[in-house]
Symmetry: C2
Subunit: 222 residues, 2 copies
């Protein structure tokens, strides 16, 4: 049975799972889920009412952190977590950094205001939030710059889930032109490297009706 992912294209949590699946060469059928309509069938799949929901190995899975750990444990080839506990700690710390802090300070204030509110018919962007998000992303890009000045990838010398978590958020924001790639050459180089991976292809092909992506979005030499 093919894996099936219930998702929305610009969700960074769905994208992180798609990147993990892609890197592990697990084929997956993508099904767009209008999770905000809280359809009873969907709530049966995930009572938390959120995407991503992944059907894999005959199991219906939710929560992106739990899903990525499961994929890693059952498909250890092309590892996205190092074997050393201290390095694993650093990877997981950074995954939480992006999925919690960056999500709260940036993604929810830019992407959710500009796109999700319109798609789910919840009104207009709140300019106070947009302004706060636009300010906060600078600090986060600077933090990434600091990390990448010391390391080849965000959590160390190899590419990990931390890079996918970060790239998932930044790629969704890049879709709405909210990332200033000129702020940091090392961050831009890092993103160019990750963007050129085969796992990234389906993400660069995403299209959200009413929101055409800008030219640089799927350009590998942006």
């Amino acid at each position: 049975m093919t894996a099936r992912l219930f998702h929305v294209p610009l969700s960074p949590f769905c994208r992180k799972v798609r990147l993990s699946l892609g890197e592990k060469k697990i084929e997956v059928e993508l099904v767009e889920e209008r999770y905000w309509e809280q359809d009873p069938d969907f709530l049966r799949r995930n009572p938390a009412g959120k995407v991503p929901v992944l059907r894999l190995d005959g199991i219906m899975m939710s929560e992106s952190a739990a899903i990525c750990e499961y994929i890693e444990e059952t498909r250890p080839e092309a590892p996205l977590l190092p074997s050393d506990p201290v390095q694993r700690l650093e990877v997981r710390r950074l995954v939480s950094w992006f999925d919690d802090k960056f999500h709260h300070e940036v993604t929810s204030k830019l992407l959710y205001e500009r796109v999700n509110k319109k798609v789910t018919k919840q009104g207009y962007p709140d300019s106070k939030n947009v302004k706060a998000g636009a300010k906060a992303i600078k600090y986060h890009l600077d933090y990434m710059t600091w990390l990448l000045d010391h390391r080849r990838w965000l959590a160390g010398d190899v590419m990990t889930l931390a890079d996918f978590a970060a790239a998932a958020h930044l790629s969704s924001l890049d879709y709405i032109s909210d990332v200033d790639w000129n702020r940091s050459a090392v961050v831009k180089d890092w993103y160019a490297k990750i963007k050129s991976r085969p796992a990234f292809r389906s993400i660069l092909a995403d299209q959200v009706p009413g929101f055409p992506p800008p030219k640089q979005y799927n350009n590998l030499d942006f």
Copy 2:
């Protein structure tokens, strides 16, 4: 070198780490951290500016999910994660349920409004939020009831991190009398079991100035 935890007493994320440390019999020195003052020393320990921060094995650690996985990987005795990947998935799904959904819908709307706002001098509780939190906790207690009708512990037949995540949130809310234990006998029994573990002792001894705990808080036969 003794382990040292920078924490605040009622933070559910700190409590989850304390419960993990306690269950593994790792002695820890507790240091209260006024994280909201964003002291430069503290920001050096954790640039995310949040608690918990744990010094263990000579490393400064942040993000409770990453910390608990590290403890589990380096101290596998008294396991808090089962060995089967599907069961681990369920444990991690529920940890995220409480640390994300429950936190957002309940803890932040009750505990943060009633206590954190006062402690950090951010004004008065917003009654709209308090009302929403008081409503949402009922749904969550019902979900726990449904789980515990089918299982001995939240994620299956053994006690896991999922139980500690849930107990961390509920115990903090119980400190301000925001849990209606009469709503569900199975949830009350579950909480009595977990409350009587030695790992819970330090949590039941917590005192927050200006917020004396109610009588049932540290009563094992509540």
